[in-house]
Symmetry: C2
Subunit: 221 residues, 2 copies
Amino acid sequence: MFTPLTYNDVNIINMARRERIPTGQRDSYHHGDLKRALTDAALGLVKEKGPKGFTLREVARRAGVSAAAPYRHFSDKTQLLAAAATLGFIQLHETLSAAAAESADVTEQVLGMGRAYVRWAVTHPDYYQVMFGSELDKGDNPELLTAGLRAFDDLLDAIVRCQAANLLPAGDPREIAGPTWSLLHGMASLTIGTDLSHVGISEDPQVMAERALRRLLFGGT
Amino acid sequence: MFTPLTYNDVNIINMARRERIPTGQRDSYHHGDLKRALTDAALGLVKEKGPKGFTLREVARRAGVSAAAPYRHFSDKTQLLAAAATLGFIQLHETLSAAAAESADVTEQVLGMGRAYVRWAVTHPDYYQVMFGSELDKGDNPELLTAGLRAFDDLLDAIVRCQAANLLPAGDPREIAGPTWSLLHGMASLTIGTDLSHVGISEDPQVMAERALRRLLFGGT
DNA sequence: ACCTGAACACCGTTCAAGT
DNA sequence: ACCTGAACACCGTTCAAGT
């Protein structure tokens, strides 16, 4: 709605949807899709060891390729990480829009998206850390930026629907989306880092998020 | 109030308050305080290059010592980073308690703390990233954990004062502190990562934080 | 008790050379 | 056009040896 799909998005989305080709079935990548194999391996490595244990050489090893090969497809380590983060944002976007589609009540749509946001984050902590914790230069990577914008647009759309129903004050929806996203991101990130539990807060982040959203947006009790 | 000072805290706090001794003035650390010199160098390095460019060998170099020397004082790189993060939490705590002391109105105290929180975070992005972004095992480092708890207690105390004044619902203050901290942390962290501006939100995070806190806590408009 | 020197097993990145 | 091999300048960490 706010950011139309670009040609690159379509590529990325196709990339995400194409079925996985087991890497062992090819004896050579000369005619295969090494770029894809590398992002796949990167995703697996992030899932296994977290963004901290992510190594370009190990990714190359898993793809069955020399340490120098990735440089034909990514200018450096960060760009490969950015590709992984991009796929994460696409998954998050799909999760959010699916959550919004689950109810006809616009209020319940925002709340459901809030729950879905923290649920996805805490069940995919490694992706989430790559997406937000790795000081990726989003300005440096248009595909990553667009994928992030699409996820944000889900939130924005839900807010606009509430405004249209007079359940939220009219005006620039981003003024509402900013604090909303901050709340969700903060909860997700503090939960993943176990900071909340260290401080004696053990509540389910999903119910915590819903309660807080109710107060923040609709003045609920 | 919730977590009394331990012996270690006192050490850390003294460490933070002691005046800096220029490292060049000693020809040998055999009788000096290498541990202190290392944390000083670490702080400087974090400030210059961010947590990503933080290197144990470079820290040792700056302290004028061999690459192996730090291992007499820190079991590994993470523990030195944790020492830096600990000093960050002490600074944050001092900032927050100072902010709370600026007003007699308890409502204004929480709002002022909120503003102070995001202000400190965005003016010390490198510290903030070390404190929250570097997957430091807080359970692994009691001094870090305690320093973090002390900062959190500032928030908790302010909330308790509002409860006592019947401006917030009675009950476990942590149920209110959780979402509050999440909101502030989310705003700080998205601002530092420039995610908010990428999404078209350019509002001053301090005024954004105050407005959102008003709504979240006091049902303000 | 505290530090150095040298070593080990890794990194990210570059570049000539191969096919 | 795409990949390899070898090299470079780094890391974190360990450990015998020095003072």
